[in-house]
Each structure stands twice: as C-alpha cells, then as structure tokens.
C-alpha cells in the first residue's frame, strides 16, 4: 500500500511539474506548481522529515505560490483571464535536457552509494530545534539578517517608480 501511494505521489509531483513548464497559461502553471509542491511535501514525509514537510507546505504553498499568484495579478490586467505565455527554443532544450536526464540517471544508478541503516527518529522537531540553536546558530542568525534584508529590499524595490 505504502509502495503504491509513494509511486502515485511521485507521479503526481512530476506530472504537476510538467504542467508547470509546459502549460500555455500562466495561471495554470502557478496552480500546477502548487500541486507539485504538495507532492514534494509528501515525499518529505516519506523520508521521515515531517517538520520539513510542514515547513514546505507553509512557506512554499502558503507563501511563495501566493506571492507568485500576486505577481501574476500585479503584472497583468486582471480582466484578461487567459494570460498566455509563449516559450522559446523548446525543441533543442527538450533534446538537451533529455540527454542530461539520461546521463544523470545512469550516474545515479551506477554510483555505489554509501548507505547507512537508520531508525526512524521520534522527535524531528526537537532535534532540528536543538541543532539550529547550537550547531547552526551562526547560519541561523545570518539567515535571519538575510530575510530582513530581503524584506526591506523587496519593499523598497517594489515601491520605487510609483
């Protein structure tokens, strides 16, 4: 059962991603992106990373997708429902990327991965919290400054020119 849902999830994620990059309508792309993020969040839960999964839902789906939708609305006339967008150099990119994907998959399969058998952690949130405030305190603080900077920067950038 778990096996089947896993494969369905993976298929769901990838299919949504395909729609994101191929759909001719921007809104469809954005909505498909949302579903793709949900699929990835599901994958995280399969990987025993429930906290990251929740964060993924909160930030990506609750934040970034909404931001992107806002971006679409702000940069197009709200009345034109069918906001279409075209693509360039599709064939050559598709060909190149297929080759790249083939190569990547060959490498992934050929490489003898170093695997460690691990048991399922009981308290992911607790250990992540501890690590963030002990081992990764400096990056944590730096990232908070980065977020502040991005906040201010985005606000000033978007305000200018009015």
């Amino acid at each position: 059962m778990a096996e089947i849902t896993f494969w369905l999830l993976a298929l769901f994620t990838i299919a949504s991603a395909v729609i994101v990059v191929t759909s001719r309508q921007l809104i469809y792309s954005a909505v498909a992106l949302l579903f793709s993020f949900i699929g990835v969040a599901g994958l995280y839960i399969y990987l025993w990373a429930d906290f990251i999964g929740v964060v993924q839902i909160m930030i990506y789906i609750g934040g970034i997708t909404i931001l992107i939708l806002f971006g679409i609305m702000l940069t197009n006339k709200i009345t034109s429902v069918r906001i279409s967008h075209t693509s360039v150099q599709r064939r050559i990119a598709a060909g190149g990327l297929t080759v790249l994907l083939g190569l990547l998959i060959t490498m992934i399969i050929k490489t003898p991965w170093y695997l460690v058998a691990a048991s399922e952690p009981t308290q992911t949130v607790e250990s992540i919290g501890k690590m963030l405030l002990i081992d990764y305190l400096l990056p944590f603080e730096v990232v908070s400054i980065l977020l502040l900077g991005a906040l201010i920067g985005a606000a000033t950038l978007a305000r200018r020119g009015r």
């Binding site: 360039v88 060959t106 490498m107």
Partner: protein, 680 residues
C-alpha cells in the same frame, strides 16, 4: 608599536564609516571627525618615529600576525610588519593626509558632497596605511586594490563632469592592467613558497625555492603592479588625467602617497629582485623620468605640469630601485612627498583664487588652470608664491634643500651602477638629463604664473591670497624641505648623511648567484661617485635654471620662436607623444574591430557563406549525381544535409541574440558534453 599601528590603521576607517553614514547630519558636515582621526594617526605616527629615533637601530623590526584562513595544509596569516621604513612611510602618509584634510576644509567648502569627500579621504588613508603596514603580499594586494578604488572615487569625485568620470574609469582600468601582472607575480611566489609572508618569501628565495627564469618572471609581475600604480611608461597615461580630481586629492594621492606605493613595494621587496628585473626596472624608471620631463615643458595647464613632473620624479625613484640604490629611492620618495604636496597645494591655491576671481566676474569660459591666463600673481599671493618657490627650488635640486640630497643620492647611485656595468650608460644619462629639464619646466611654471605683467588684467585685480586653512599646510610642507630635517644630527648640507641614512640601510640581495655587487660594495662605489654626481647635478640644474630665466623671465630668448624652430619635437611633446592616440589606434580600436570581425565571421561568413554555401554545393552535387543516380533519393539525402546545415546555421544565428536564456542553453549543452566525457 603593534597596538599603536592598529590605531593608525583603523582610525581613518572609523572616520570613513562615521562620515559615510552620519556625515551629513553632523555639524560642519563632520569634517572635524575626519581631521581628528587623521590628526590622531599623525600624533601616533610621530610618536613611533620618536621611538625609532631613540632606539636608533637599523635592524629594528616588529611583526604580528593573526590566522585568517586555516584549512590544515593551507594557511593564510595576515599581519603587520613594522620597521624603520614602515614608520617613516606612516609619518609621511599621516602628515600629508592631515595637511590635505585641513586644506580641503576651505578648498572643498560649499561642495554639495562635502561630507562624502572626507569619507573618501578617510577610506584612502585607511587603505594606504594598510599597504604600508602589510607583512604579506595578500593583504598588500587587498589594500592595493582598496587604494585603487578610493583613487577612482576621488578622481571621479566631480562625476557630473564627463571628463572627471572618464578619468576615474581610465585610472582604474589602467591600474587593472598592471594589477593583473602583480597578481600573477604574487601567485608565482605563493605556489613556490606556500606563503604570502615577506619573510617566508625572502627565506624561500634565499634557499632557492624559486630561482632562475621563474623568479625573474615573478619579479616582473610585481614590477607590473608598480608600473600601474606608480604610473611608469607605458601605463603612465592615467596620472595626468587624474588631475581632474580635486587638488588636495592630487596632492595626497597622485603626488605624495598612492603613486609612491609602487615604489614603496619595490623598496620592501628589493632583496628578491633578480638582476634582470632590476635592469628592466632601471630602464623603465629612467625612461619615464626623461620622457615625462620632456612633456612637462610644453604643457599649459598648471596641474598637468605638476602631474608630469610627478611622473618624472617617480621615474627617478623607480630608477633608483633598479640601480640598487633603493634606499636613495625611498629617501627621494619622502622628500618628494613634502615638496610635491606643497607644490600641488600652491597650484590649488592659485586655482582657488582664479575660480573666485572668475566667479566674481561671472566668467564661466576662462580656464582657471591655464597658465596663459595668469601672470604677475606674485604681489597678489605672496605666501603662495614663496612656498612654491621654495618647493620648486627643492625639486630642482638646489643645495640646502631636501631635493638636492635625495636626488644627488640617486644620481650617485646611477653613476655607480654604470660604473660596474658600463653597457648601461643610458641610465645615468636619463637621470642627469631629467635633472637638467626639471628646474627648467618648474621655473617656467613659477615665471608664467607669478612673474612679469599680468596677462589678464581684469582677472588679476580680483585675485586675493587664499585663506589660512590653505596657506598653513603649504607653509608647513615647504618648510619641511629644509635639508636639516633629514640630516640631523649631522649638519652637512652636501653629504646628506644623518638619521635617515643611518636608519634606512640597504640589504643584500637574497637571490642566489646575484653576482653583481653586495650592498656594502655598492655603497662604497656610490660614495666614490658622490662628488662627481653632485658637481654634475648642480651644474646641470644651474643650466636649466639659467635657460628658464632667459626664456620666461627675461624673455631674452623667445619660447614661441624656439617652439616653432624645434618643429615636430615641440608638437610631439605638446601632444604627450601621442601615447593616448597610439593606444586608441593600436589597442582599443583593433580590439573593437576584432569583436566586430568575430561577429561578422559568425553571422555573415559562417552562417551565410559557409553553411548556405555548403547547402548550395550539396544541391549542385545532388543535381549532378541526379543524372546518373536515382534523383529522388539523392535530392532527399543531399538536400537534407544542406537543409540540416542551413537550419543549424539559423539556430546558431539565433544564439547570438544576447538573450540570457540562450546562453544558459549553451551552458547546459556544455555540461552535457562534459558529463558524456566523464561517463565514457
């Protein structure tokens, strides 16, 4: 000492930060912060000078370092090295910087970016002190670039003027050319020694870890950096243009300190220069000394004359390093900093007076820097006049002034150099000829500006002496040209021995197989040639002064007539030997044309001629074989190939659109190729 030097380094940085963030809101736009900071560094530097004078030990050295990067096998330590040369240089930088700050309070008064100007000065002082204090090539390089940045900011300070903005860019880019070589040199040392530290590199060279042609190349790389920063031929083109910056900046950066950084670096690293490098250094320096002097004769812009005179004097210093008399070069660096800064302040004072006069007259056309609009200012600006005269006599090498003893030491060095390698007789020739031309053009400046009857009477009557904030730095620096400041406790104006020569002594070269001469023998030879050099230089300087007097004060000889008679020589000199034009013609234009050609090859030639041509040829071949073979198949295959190439040609053509996504696609294809190679 180390703590004190930390203060010296970081006080100007602190001033910079305060000025750049809060400068506009402080009373008087915060100029007192900057002056207090550099004044503090001056006090500390003078204290350090006193300390080394009390110790009076030529081998005095202090070093401190901290670990910056530690990756096990790979470590980088940054730190300070303080010896007598460092302390003297710190005093020079702090002194000229303080004077420039004080001078700028009036000269730059009322400028809309007044506080930012002082911030940039602080940044410059910080970086310059960093260069002076560095004990390793890496931090030297970092501060070297910082100095370049602050120089760029200050040259282009009046960026509303296109010429100033362009001059800033030119200075920065020209310096980059030299810095490329400098970086290669540093990396050659690093790969050989595994360390950036001076002492490690010295030891490594002494042990022969880097020797022969590679050491020569590395030394040449370092010299490239000096060529860029100290504006030697062929990278001298930026310095005259740098005069677009404010005059106190020209005095501080483009006369006394930054341009001397190249010489300072060569002096520091002299022991690891191979004889081949030294000969190149000597020729480049000597040639620059003469070359720039000949240009200075014909310039009419008061600051440009000083700029070319700076080039010429820097050439002297570099030449001194090349001949082995590098302590004399450093000596000249110090004395030159004093009198050249004083000369620039004088020129700035004249320009300031001219500006004010023109402002009162509502005249925006007349060039305030052109000496042809001046004349007779002596009675109007007595303090400026006398300080400039003293500084001019110092640069001319008149006895009892500092320029005489330092220039004399260099010339004696060139004679000694030619003594042990007579095939290089050109080096002293360059030196002595420039020594004759220097007083000529410097006095020309004085005579044209201050003597005779005024050329523009209506401007003349509006000229007034500059305020005290500007005259005091001039008086201080021109009084520092008195020889005794450099020769105490001795008091012999002709020998030039004293605390300076006792504290700064030449080291032996560490290059293995440096067969020429040891420092001691060289000093002996210099001593032998001392009297000869002195007699020659004094008489040549006298000759230059005499001619200048005849031409420009007494008008016994007509300068215009002589200019006419000398024909192309005058024209060449006036147009600075067309160096800028030559670079434009032979470097910039061909480069632009090359890019055009590449574009043409790709678009028109490759796409249309080659690929379409291939298609056409294939088509013809197909027709030809069609008569023999089955037409359809042939046409399909051959035309298919033709069409394939045509189409790929067209898509290649699309690739040159300047769209980022196309480039990304190419990056992707390249990655695929690399991956395929890896997998196979």
């Amino acid at each position: 000492m180390i703590i004190a030097s930390l203060f010296i380094l970081f006080l100007p940085l602190l001033a910079f930060l305060i000025q750049i963030f809060w400068g506009r809101r402080l009373p008087r736009q915060g100029d007192f912060v900057a002056i207090a900071a550099v004044g503090g560094t001056l006090v500390i530097a003078l204290g350090m000078l006193l300390a080394i004078l009390l110790k009076f030990d030529p081998g005095f050295q202090r070093e401190a370092a901290f670990e910056w990067v530690n990756l096990g096998a790979f470590q980088i330590k940054l730190g300070f090295l303080i010896d007598n040369i460092t302390v003297i240089m710190l005093v020079v930088v702090a002194l000229i910087s303080t004077m420039s700050h004080i001078y700028s309070t009036r000269y730059m008064g009322g400028d809309p970016l007044y506080s930012r100007y002082f911030a940039y000065l602080g940044l410059f002082t910080f970086s310059m002190n960093g260069i002076v204090l560095a004990n390793n090539l890496l931090s030297l390089y970092i501060f070297w670039e910082l100095v370049g940045v602050s120089s760029y900011l200050l040259i282009g300070f009046w960026f509303q003027k296109d010429s100033a903005a362009d001059a800033g860019k030119k200075a920065f880019l020209t310096n980059r050319v030299g810095d490329l070589g400098f970086f290669i040199g540093i990396m050659l040392f690093f790969t050989a020694m595994g360390s950036f530290n001076y002492q490690d590199i010295f030891n490594g060279v002494a042990n022969g870890q880097l020797s022969g042609i590679m050491l020569t190349l590395a030394g040449l790389g370092l010299f490239c950096g000096a060529v860029g920063k100290s504006a030697q031929v062929p990278l001298h083109i930026w310095l005259p243009d740098a005069m677009e910056g404010p005059t106190p900046v020209s005095a501080l950066i483009h006369a006394a300190t930054m341009v001397a950084a190249g010489v300072y670096m060569l002096v520091r690293l002299f022991p690891i220069m191979t004889p081949d490098v030294l000969i190149i250094i000597a020729y480049v320096g000597g040639f620059t000394a003469l070359f720039a002097a000949t240009i200075a004769i014909t310039q009419n812009d008061i600051k440009r004359v000083l700029a070319y005179s700076t080039l010429s004097q820097l050439g002297y210093m570099v030449m001194a390093v090349g001949t082995g008399a590098y302590t004399a070069g450093f000596f000249h660096l110090v004395t030159h900093a004093m009198f050249k800064a004083s000369l620039f302040y004088g020129a700035g004072s004249v320009i300031y007076a001219m500006h004010n006069a023109l402002h009162k007259l509502n005249d925006h056309e007349t060039d305030a820097q052109d000496m042809r609009n001046m004349g007779g200012f002596k009675s109007r600006m007595p303090i400026t006049y006398w300080t400039m005269v003293v500084a001019t006599l110092a640069i001319s090498g008149v006895p009892f002034l500092s320029g005489f003893i330092s220039k004399d030491a260099i010339l004696a060095g060139t004679l000694a150099f030619a003594g042990h390698s007579p095939q290089h007789f050109l080096v002293p020739f360059f030196g002595f000829t420039a020594a004759m031309i220097t007083p000529f053009y410097m006095l020309r400046l004085i005579y044209l500006t201050f003597h005779n009857e005024p050329r523009q009477t209506h401007i003349y009557i509006k000229i007034v002496e500059s305020p005290r904030a500007m005259t005091v730095p001039m008086i201080v620096l021109s009084s520092l040209t008195f020889f005794a400041f450099y020769t105490l406790p001795q008091f012999n104006p002709f020998a030039g021995n004293g605390w300076f020569t006792s504290l700064v002594t030449a080291q032996d070269s560490l290059v293995t197989g440096f067969a020429v001469v040891s420092a001691h023998e060289f000093a002996e030879q210099v001593h032998h040639n001392h009297t000869l050099a002195m007699i020659l230089s004094v008489s040549l300087a006298g000759l230059g002064i005499l001619f200048s007097w005849l031409f420009y004060l007494k008008r016994k000889l007509s300068a215009d007539a002589w200019a006419q008679r000398s024909g192309f020589i005058y024209r060449w000199s006036f147009h600075k030997y067309y160096i800028d034009e030559i670079y434009d013609r032979f470097i910039y234009q061909p480069f632009l044309r090359l890019t055009d050609k590449v574009g043409y090859t790709d678009w028109d030639l490759y796409d249309q001629k080659f690929i379409d041509g291939f298609g056409r040829v294939s088509e013809k071949l197909a027709r030809l074989s069609g008569t023999i073979d089955w037409e359809g198949l042939d046409k399909m295959i051959v035309n298919g190939i033709g069409r394939f190439f045509q189409r790929s040609g067209q898509s290649l053509r699309q690739a040159q659109t300047g769209r980022l996504q196309n480039y990304l696609l190419f990056a992707l294809l390249a990655i695929i190729v690399i991956l395929i190679i890896q997998v196979l």
